[in-house]
């Protein structure tokens, strides 16, 4: 397996495709952080200094915040790394030759997946480190422990989320066998889950509750919409990142009027790290299990396929 892992890693890092994607993500990312830093400096008096580094990631200074940007284009990196991993080998006819070496079949797919995941991890960690480095330069002090922890968990969620797309692309590449088809299918799913699920969820919720009139109806409509949209992993990512990077946030579903009484006297203060993590735990586990399911199917499928030269 280590042989496959290192070989795959070398392949990723030497491919022009990956270089272009890295530049495509890094440059706007750095720009977004720089502009966020400028925005923070401009309205310096009203900002609390506790979460300044997190605000670097969430301020929408350049059409989008860095977190949103990564949430939208991160999947593309995962797809790029995965869509030709198996089908490419089929296409070039190299799979049987590789497997004729003393390499187990599972170490091949494991090694390919782990190499992809490691590449993603390097990408995310380097982005976060660049954010911290630029942040120190722009803001002028070091991030505190809480901010570092939250950024670490942000990176972990990001890796898991892009890991899902890697696993999905590998699964499709496994199932469809043709590289171009796998790539198109992956991109179609990416667009569907990233953009259309939200629209569709609103549409379906509108069908279920027509003419919302009372406050309760509106709340239920929003709840149904959220629940439906959560089928998309991109919403899971967005929600957990919002909870993680904005410690004041504590709920993502609308609050019913009868629940409002229970919240009386609640102060809008930042939650501590543990509480924020508890809020995102379900979403994180869903993401992890999605990765596991996709990779599991790909794994089983790969183990059972007949491979001929």
């Amino acid at each position: 397996m280590p042989v496959v892992f290192w070989k795959e890693l070398q392949d990723h890092f030497s491919s022009l495709r990956f270089m272009i994607l890295l530049a495509l993500i890094m440059l706007p990312g750095v720009l977004a952080v720089y502009l966020s830093g400028q925005a923070i400096q401009a309205e310096v008096q009203s900002n609390p200094t506790e979460q300044v580094f997190l605000r670097l990631l969430t301020i929408e200074s350049f059409f989008f915040s860095l977190a949103t940007f990564l949430g939208f284009f991160g999947p593309l990196v995962g797809i790029t790394l995965g869509f030709d991993s198996i089908s490419g080998e089929y296409g070039r006819g190299t799979l049987s030759r590789v497997l004729s070496q003393p390499i187990y079949r599972d170490s091949l797919i494991n090694g390919k997946f782990l190499a992809g995941l490691t590449t993603l991890a390097i990408l995310w960690v380097s982005i976060v480190l660049v954010v911290i480095g630029l942040g120190i330069t722009l803001i002028g002090f070091l991030p505190n422990a809480e901010e570092l922890w939250r950024m670490l968990f942000f990176a972990i969620i990001g890796i898991t989320y892009t890991g899902f797309w890697l696993a999905l692309a590998m699964l499709l590449s496994m199932l469809l066998r043709r590289t171009v088809t796998a790539a198109l299918a992956s991109i179609a799913i990416w667009l569907f889950l990233g953009i259309f699920v939200g629209v569709l969820a609103g549409f379906v919720a509108g069908l279920i509750i027509q003419n919302p009139q009372t406050a309760e109806d509106v709340t239920r409509l929003a709840t149904i919409e959220t629940v439906l949209a959560r089928m998309s992993p991109s919403l899971l990512y967005t929600e957990s990142v919002r909870l993680l990077l904005n410690p004041v946030a504590r709920s993502l579903v609308p609050i019913l009027p009868e629940q409002l009484g229970q919240l009386e006297g609640l102060l809008i203060t930042p939650l501590n790290l543990g509480q924020s993590l508890r809020l995102i735990l379900p979403m994180f586990f869903t993401l992890v299990s999605l990765v596991a399911v996709c990779f599991g199917i790909a794994y089983i499928k790969f183990m059972r396929t007949e491979i001929r030269a």
Partner: protein, 409 residues
């Protein structure tokens, strides 16, 4: 018939007898008048002094005026010296010319004419009630005649109401600060049966401005015509000097028309103003601070008012976790015109984001407070810039190393 004729004759005779003396005396008076003119000057009195009043009742502190007429019966003019003698203690008295009124010691009267002077007598405030006597001596220059006139005064315990012109103010004492304009309402009353043109004048401490105006008009007047038995309300505006010292200031408004005078004693009580000023010596209201380090900004406080300011304390409204100390942190009292320097030490927290902050500094005293805003530019220690750049460079280098290490085939 004869008898009748005889009666007629007797009647005629009787009428003659009855009317004879009458026509005779009338003839005689015209003759004596002619004779008097014919009397040579040296047989006539050189002058006569006619003092208008006697047994006058006046009150303490009052001023009494009366006409003194010197008559010259002779054909030649006469020079008469006038003086007051035997003046009760504390009294002032003297002869004045009619108008313009100057103190005079003697006059010259043309032949057959007379001249009127004014005797003004001013009684002291503390004169005991009782009977007093004032002596006036008139002497002609040739020493032919010396006339002594004693004028008796009865001094009453209270002032005597003289009537004529009256001036009253409903609120004769006003108080305030020197930046105010004080407005007094004064009723001027003509109690005589003649219309009076009254000259108005005010006497105020130096630096004070007094304007006398009709009640609802904005014109400054120095005289006013009053109809008989009428009254007019005047508005007296008094403007103290800008930096008037606190205290009581008397202002006297006088009205005068011929013999009639009236006066109104007004008083303005000035309280001191407390004007607190704050600023910096250079006028700059910005400061540069490095995060985590102390830096000093000086500002000045001054009292531009007329009363001392007490118990001044400094308060700063500052961003979270900033530290602002003042030295001195308290000023017990700031006298008028005094300026003091206060040193302000600003410490921005370590975790202050670089940028511009507003720092409002307020000087507070029980009487007045003033606030200025400082614009504090926080720069962060350059070391953090280097560390940040170092981290970015390290990430780029590490990525490059990964590429080189793994990109080799």
């Amino acid at each position: 018939m004869r008898i009748r004729r005889a009666h007629l004759v007797w009647l005629l005779l009787a009428a003659l007898v009855a009317f004879w003396p009458l026509s005779g005396t009338s003839h005689e008076t015209s003759e004596t008048a002619a004779k008097q003119q014919d009397i040579p000057d040296d047989q006539k009195e050189p002058f006569e002094l006619v003092m208008a009043y006697n047994n006058i009742t006046v009150g303490p502190g009052q001023e009494f005026e009366m006409d003194a007429e010197v008559v010259n019966p002779r054909r030649a003019s006469v020079r008469v010296a006038l003086e007051t003698t035997s003046l009760p203690e504390g009294w002032t008295a003297g002869f004045h010319s009619r108008y313009p009124s100057f103190p005079v010691g003697g006059i010259m009267v043309q032949g057959g004419k007379n001249t009127t002077l004014e005797l003004k007598v001013k009684l002291p405030d503390n004169v005991e009630p009782g009977d007093y006597e004032l002596g006036v001596t008139a002497k002609d220059s040739k020493g032919e005649k010396t006339e002594d006139v004693k004028i008796a005064f009865r001094v009453s315990a209270k002032k005597v109401d003289t009537g004529g012109l009256k001036m009253e103010s409903q609120y004769p004492v006003l108080s305030g600060t020197s930046d105010q304009t004080f407005k007094f309402g004064i009723d001027l009353k003509n109690e005589t049966d003649n219309p009076l043109t009254t000259a108005l004048a005010a006497q105020a401490p130096p630096g004070w401005v007094v304007r006398i105006k009709p009640q609802f008009e904005d014109t400054q007047i120095s005289s006013i015509a009053l109809k008989k038995d009428s009254s007019e309300t005047l508005s007296v505006e008094i403007q103290p000097p800008q930096l008037g010292d606190p205290g009581d200031f008397p202002i006297v408004v006088r009205a005068r028309s011929g013999n009639f005078t009236a006066q109104s004693d007004l008083k303005v009580t000035l309280a001191g103003t407390r004007v607190l000023n704050m600023g910096t010596a250079t006028g700059r209201l910005n400061a540069d601070v490095t995060a985590g380090e102390q830096s000093q900004v000086d500002f000045l406080i001054g009292n531009a008012g007329t009363a001392p300011l007490n118990n001044l304390a400094f308060i700063s409204s500052k961003p979270d976790r900033w530290e602002v100390n003042f030295n001195p942190d308290k000023v017990d009292s700031l006298n008028p015109g005094e300026v003091r320097e206060v040193k302000m030490e600003i410490t921005a927290p370590d975790r202050a984001v670089a940028g511009d902050y507003m720092l409002a500094v307020t000087t507070n005293s029980p009487d007045s407070s003033k606030s200025i805003d400082f614009r504090v530019t926080v720069s962060t220690p350059t070391i953090w810039g280097w560390i940040g750049a170092f981290i970015v460079a390290a990430v780029v280098l590490a990525l490059a190393a990964v590429f080189i290490r793994l990109g080799r085939r």
